[in-house]
């Protein structure tokens, strides 16, 4: 969680005292921090068991790609010159923003579904929880 704290501190710095830093650098740093925070927290939700190792790699790589997509949008935007071809009728950076930032993260949903029983909530954990509830160990609130 210290990593998340560092990312958030850097984000605040980029907003409030980053005026002297070129905008392209500020936006890249901000984008990396955004992807980093989400990546760290998502990885915390994968089980630390051996069976989760491959999925942890997939999720980790996925968030690296997500960060890369954000950087691509920034770089494509500053390098665009009128007259360049327009994919699907949009500027390249806009197309990347719409499809890369939006649809790519659906990969995470696919990973979530595919790996649910092995790396997120295993049948053993579910059975254990059911056992706790049936033993009457639930505690009324208040």
């Amino acid at each position: 969680m210290v990593g998340v704290a560092i990312f958030t501190a850097v984000m605040l710095l980029m907003v409030f005292i980053g005026e002297s830093i070129p905008m392209v650098v500020r936006t890249i740093v901000y984008a990396v921090c955004v992807a980093g925070i989400m990546g760290v927290l998502a990885l915390k939700n994968l089980l630390s068991s051996e069976s989760a190792a491959v999925f942890r790699k997939f999720f980790g790589v996925g968030y690296l790609i997500f960060g890369g997509i954000l950087i691509s949008v920034i770089l494509l935007d500053i390098s665009f010159v009128p007259g360049y071809s327009l994919p699907l009728g949009m500027e390249p950076a806009t197309a990347m923003a719409v499809f890369g930032v939006t649809f790519f993260p659906f990969i995470f949903i696919i990973l979530w579904l595919v790996g649910f029983e092995r790396v997120i909530v295993t049948p053993e954990k579910e059975k254990h929880l059911k056992g706790l509830v049936e033993k009457g160990e639930d505690q009324p609130n208040g």
Binding site: T8, Y30, L113, L129, Q139, P140
Partner: protein, 504 residues
């Protein structure tokens, strides 16, 4: 039958169906557990549709196109990440919330927070934030209802807003969350159909009959009109603002009580597995309306085919487009879906707000529950609805756009509950002091920056650099405060079952 009569007939049929669902739900609602968490019996479809329908309210269907009309693609960085926020909240919270709901008597978000931190101060803090946010967010939806109804029925905005709230009170007071959940399934289906259909019509309209020429024509016309910024990746607001919205709406989505509390209602872990995916996909289909209508309306204005919307009335983009450029039967369905979206979100918020009054504040302050919770829940629903209506009318008088108010409400919840819930339920070292400090920081920063950018009216005090979202700054600051204060305070010894649930 003329077009207007057809539209009115469809809307009337829909409203009667909603009220019918409300009556049916009232008969199913026999306890406070039924009223707040539908008896923890929601399946995949109900939970998935309820999650996305609650997010896609008047904010999405009316405020969204208005934002696109005004700021171009900047608005994409709100609507598109919000879809991912739905699935992200599933990844970060679903299994933990489901576990809490199984192990403990959890009916509300403050219940869960109080149990996690073993702290009634946390419960009270969460309750206060919810009350403030609910009134702001409900205000958004009342404004949206007023905007649509005033345009459609050609009536005074205040009258329209009051009519809308009356209908919501009707089924929220008696049906509780069960009314909202089952209405969400019905209207979610309508909204998905409406989103795809209107997207097709919008792009075909601007493509001069050719759907595939739509985006190209938009690019050409906007470029020729000197509004190239509006169609770039960052829109009018620029990259820092857009990235701040990405952060606020994707990460902040995990702190929205009206969606995450749905996880308490899940019937089983299979529901928890599939519903985030269903919600995200369904939401994306609906959001097609958001992204297309604003551009289509602006395109029509730039080409002289439609009158420009006055400044401050950009929220009329969607109603105007629907009335003037879609077939009457489709406009009727979409308007029905719009009204439904607004009402179901309002119902969710009323339900959450009622929970605060009836369950959380008495437990936090009086240390005991109230008697006749169900009766008091219905009474509180009524009172909150009236307060929100007054707030909405005040906001309208001060010229707030629907989406701007919605962003404020979203940011308020995000800044308080992302640290308290998303971080706190994923990190055993989080302490109650960190949670409370974070919530207070979020509230102060969000409200402070918002007020500073508006008042005094003739020369506002402060504008955040590069149009970065105040809500995103509040969220960032509150997460940082949460971690620093938690690490600086004594670690809490957790109840073994709480530790098991957080460690899941």
């Amino acid at each position: 039958m003329d077009d207007r009569t057809l539209m009115l007939s469809i809307i009337a049929a829909y409203m009667l169906s909603c009220l019918g669902i409300g009556v049916w739900a009232a008969k199913q609602t026999k306890s406070s557990s039924d009223f707040f968490v539908a008896g923890k019996s929601a399946g995949i479809v109900v939970m998935g549709f309820a999650s996305f329908s609650t997010v896609l309210s008047g904010f999405g269907f009316i405020g969204g196109p208005g934002l696109v009309y005004k700021f171009g693609t900047s608005s994409f960085w709100i609507c598109l990440p919000a879809a991912l926020g739905l699935s992200f909240s599933g990844i970060l919270l679903a299994k933990r919330f489901k576990t809490f709901a199984e192990l403990f008597d959890i009916l509300t978000l403050p219940d869960a927070v109080a149990k996690r931190y073993n702290s009634e101060v946390c419960r009270l803090t969460a309750a206060v934030v919810i009350l403030i946010g609910v009134i702001a967010y409900l205000g958004t939806n009342i404004l949206a209802f007023g905007a649509v109804a005033a345009t459609f029925f050609d009536i005074n905005f205040t009258t329209a807003a009051i009519i809308g709230m009356t209908v919501v009170i009707g089924y929220a007071v008696f049906g509780g969350i069960i009314a909202g959940l089952y209405t969400d399934v019905f209207q979610g289906t309508l909204m998905m159909f409406a989103g795809v259909a209107v997207f097709w019509i919008a792009l075909t309209t601007v493509g001069d009959g050719n759907f595939f020429a739509g985006t190209r024509n938009i690019t050409d016309v906007f470029t020729a009109a000197g509004q190239k910024n509006a169609i770039g990746p960052w829109g009018v607001l620029g990259p820092m603002a857009c990235l701040s919205y990405l952060f606020l709406f994707q990460f902040g989505g995990t702190g929205q009580p009206h969606t995450i509390t749905k996880m308490f209602m899940a019937r089983d872990f299979k529901t928890v597995k599939w519903s985030p995916a269903l919600a995200a996909i369904a939401y994306m289909l609906c959001v097609l309306l958001w992204v297309s209508v604003g551009f289509a309306m602006k395109y029509l204005v730039l080409t002289g085919a439609a009158e420009a919307l006055p400044v401050g009335h950009e929220d009329n983009a969607a109603p105007r487009f629907l009335m003037d450029h879609t077939p009457a039967w489709l406009a009727g369905i979409v308007f029905s879906g719009l009204f439904a979206a607004i009402m179901s979100t309002a119902d969710s918020f009323l339900n959450i707000g009622a929970g605060v009054f009836v369950r959380d504040i008495p437990r936090a302050i009086l240390k005991r529950p109230v008697k006749n919770e169900l009766v008091w829940a219905r009474t509180a629903t009524f009172i909150i609805a009236i307060a929100a209506t007054f707030f909405a009318l005040w906001a309208k008088k001060h010229g707030d756009l629907i989406a701007i108010l919605g962003i404020f409400g979203w940011g308020l919840f995000a800044a308080a509950f992302v640290p308290m819930v998303t971080i706190g339920f994923n990190w055993k070292r989080a302490t109650w002091q960190g949670a409370v400090a974070a919530a207070v920081t979020g509230l102060v920063v969000n409200v402070g920056l918002d007020l500073a950018s508006k008042y005094p009216r003739e020369a506002p005090l402060y504008f955040v650099p590069n149009a970065v979202s105040a809500g995103a700054i509040a969220l960032t600051a509150s997460v940082l405060v949460m971690i620093i204060v938690s690490l600086s305070t004594k670690p809490q010894t957790l109840d073994p079952l709480v530790e098991e649930a957080v460690d899941y």
